[in-house]
């Protein structure tokens, strides 16, 4: 039985970074050339350098930062509540087969509804601001957490459960001490997926809701002003960067906390 670390799958880390950077550079250049050469009207697609400059400028604009903070608050609050709801529910569904079959029908009905389609309904019922933004974020980001929790529980090794059971631990204890930690890497992946969805929903809700604050609001309002394309694009770049940053941080956290998961999978067993 060998316990070497896994052979690198696909690209090594520096390789990935290099290719990612190259991709961004090419896109940047293309947009720069298109913009400067006047192939596309400047008010439709400003050159990338102007967008970047504007994005940097916005980082020092207290008004813009306030909007970002509003969006991140809705995002964090929504994700936190979603996790607090979806993980226990997933544990319940995943460990009690009767409950699982009972709720499956409801779940299968609700899941295909695109969360964005609920924005007008939520605005109608809940008004505006965090009051309506957070519930939407919670709703949309609960699904991946819920499914990954149930899936993670399916994947728990029966021998591991039997082991703790044979030492006289109750079923509930086995759930907490074996099933939950064993499924934790899957749950974390679900939370990471949910984090992206939550950001999309937070920004999207702000854009569509018409009034209030937030990064989405900033983008929507800039779009209504003549010559606001630059602000729209700079705001969008920020939304993208936030998404990337969040995903990276969570991904790194996963790798660190669940080192055992990777190491075990790559082992011979």
């Amino acid at each position: 039985m060998t316990h070497e670390s896994a052979p690198p799958r696909g690209l090594s880390r520096p390789g990935k970074w290099a290719r990612g950077a190259a991709g961004v550079a090419i896109l940047f250049l293309a947009s720069e050339i298109l913009g400067r050469a006047g192939v596309v009207d400047r008010s439709y697609l400003p050159p990338a350098s102007s967008i970047t400059a504007r994005a940097f400028e916005l980082a020092g604009d207290p008004d813009f930062l306030f909007n970002v903070r509003v969006t991140l608050t809705a995002w964090a609050l929504g994700l936190l509540i979603a996790t607090a709801i979806a993980v226990p529910l997933g544990l319940l569904f995943g460990s009690v087969p009767a409950v699982n079959t009972a709720v499956r029908a409801i779940v299968e009905f609700l899941r295909p509804i695109p969360s964005v389609a609920l924005i007008p309904l939520a605005a109608l019922l809940l008004g505006s601001g965090l009051k309506m933004e957070v519930p939407l974020v919670v709703y949309a980001s609960s699904w991946p957490i819920l499914f990954n929790t149930v899936y993670g529980l399916d994947d728990v090794d029966p021998t591991a459960k039997d082991t703790l059971r044979s030492f006289g631990f109750s079923r509930f204890q086995v759930l907490l001490r074996v099933s939950l930690p064993s499924a934790a890497p899957f749950i974390a992946t679900g939370v990471r997926l949910a984090a992206s969805i939550a950001l999309i929903l937070a920004v999207g809700t702000e854009i569509l809701s018409g009034f209030g604050d937030g990064l989405g609001m900033f983008i929507a309002q800039a779009g209504n002003v003549p010559g606001g394309t630059l602000d729209v694009l700079a705001g969008t770049v920020w939304a993208g960067c936030l998404g990337l940053l969040i995903d990276m941080l969570l991904g790194q956290g996963e790798n660190r906390v669940f080192r055992w998961h990777k190491a075990q999978r790559s082992g011979a067993s």
Binding site: M1, H3, T159, D162, T163, G168, R177, A263, Q264
Partner: protein, 264 residues
């Protein structure tokens, strides 16, 4: 006393693994169980541990039927690597069951360290199971069962992955714990010499579905040692007899049949 009568189990797919197995084990006895691969030894242990509900027959421990997992039980699983928790360090793996003993954190850690030392892994406590070799993982799972100090211990091929020298050390460790703690032990093994060396009794199972084919008392002195015991004429006689029975030989009381493998 563990009493098994008419134990029958067929799995969900209809496979009959045990067919009317009878076995009585007095308290404090170490019973070696041998039998062909796939005959139902692990199934027998799982039923005894209350992990699967047999489809027929009766199991009682000290007179009470085994419904769920009996109190004071420890199992060393055949799949030792899958029975260790990869998110816990080796020491925490060994210490975890001791929560059931109402011990403090410090006591649990001390007991875990002591058990790890007894299986020859004094420095493995801070590592994770997946950082150890197969044989070392197997010893961790033995240490975990020993640290628990159960009154009934079920061991499913517990020494299969360790080298010959370590294996002898572990056999002696189990014998010593068995004597000192008066543990009842069922030990499944493929090694015929081992079954005689550690056992107060050797139970030979039939080819699948399992039933008790033969049940031989081991009349060797309780205190055994690797060199002396293995050259004892009684040991030599028993291992030949068990070997013959495992190969499907008929039960013959006393008289030596004219089998080739008895020619020692």
């Amino acid at each position: 006393m563990l009493q098994i009568t008419g134990l029958t189990h067929s799995y969900a797919d209809g496979h009959l693994a045990l067919d009317g197995l009878d076995l009585t084990v007095p308290d404090g006895e170490l019973v070696s169980i041998v039998g062909p691969s796939g005959c139902g030894k692990s199934t027998l242990l799982r039923c005894t541990a209350g992990l699967i509900r047999p489809t027929g027959g009766r199991l009682t421990l000290n007179g009470a039927p085994i419904g769920g997992v009996p109190d004071d039980l420890a199992v060393v699983f055949q799949d030792y690597s899958r029975s260790l928790f990869p998110w816990l360090t080796v020491r925490d793996n060994v210490a975890l069951p001791l929560r059931r003993r109402g011990k403090s954190r410090a006591e649990r850690r001390a007991a875990a360290q002591e058990a790890l030392e007894s299986v020859g892994l004094p420095d493995a406590g801070r590592k994770y199971p997946w950082q150890l070799s197969g044989g070392m993982q197997q010893r961790v799972s033995i240490a975990r069962a020993l640290a628990y100090r159960p009154s009934l211990m079920l061991m499913d091929e517990p020494f299969g992955s360790v080298d010959a020298q370590t294996r002898e050390d572990l056999e002696d460790l189990v014998l010593q714990v068995h004597r000192n703690e008066k543990m009842t032990i069922l030990l499944v093994t493929h090694d015929i010499d081992e079954s005689v060396y550690v056992g107060d009794r050797v139970v030979v199972l039939n080819r699948s579905p399992a039933r008790v084919h033969a049940d031989l008392p081991v009349s060797l002195p309780a205190v055994r040692d690797q060199i002396g015991t293995r050259s004892d004429p009684e040991f030599v006689r028993l291992r030949a007899e068990v070997g013959r029975l495992v190969r499907g030989g008929a039960k013959v009381a006393g008289a030596a049949p004219a089998d080739a493998d008895r020619g020692t």
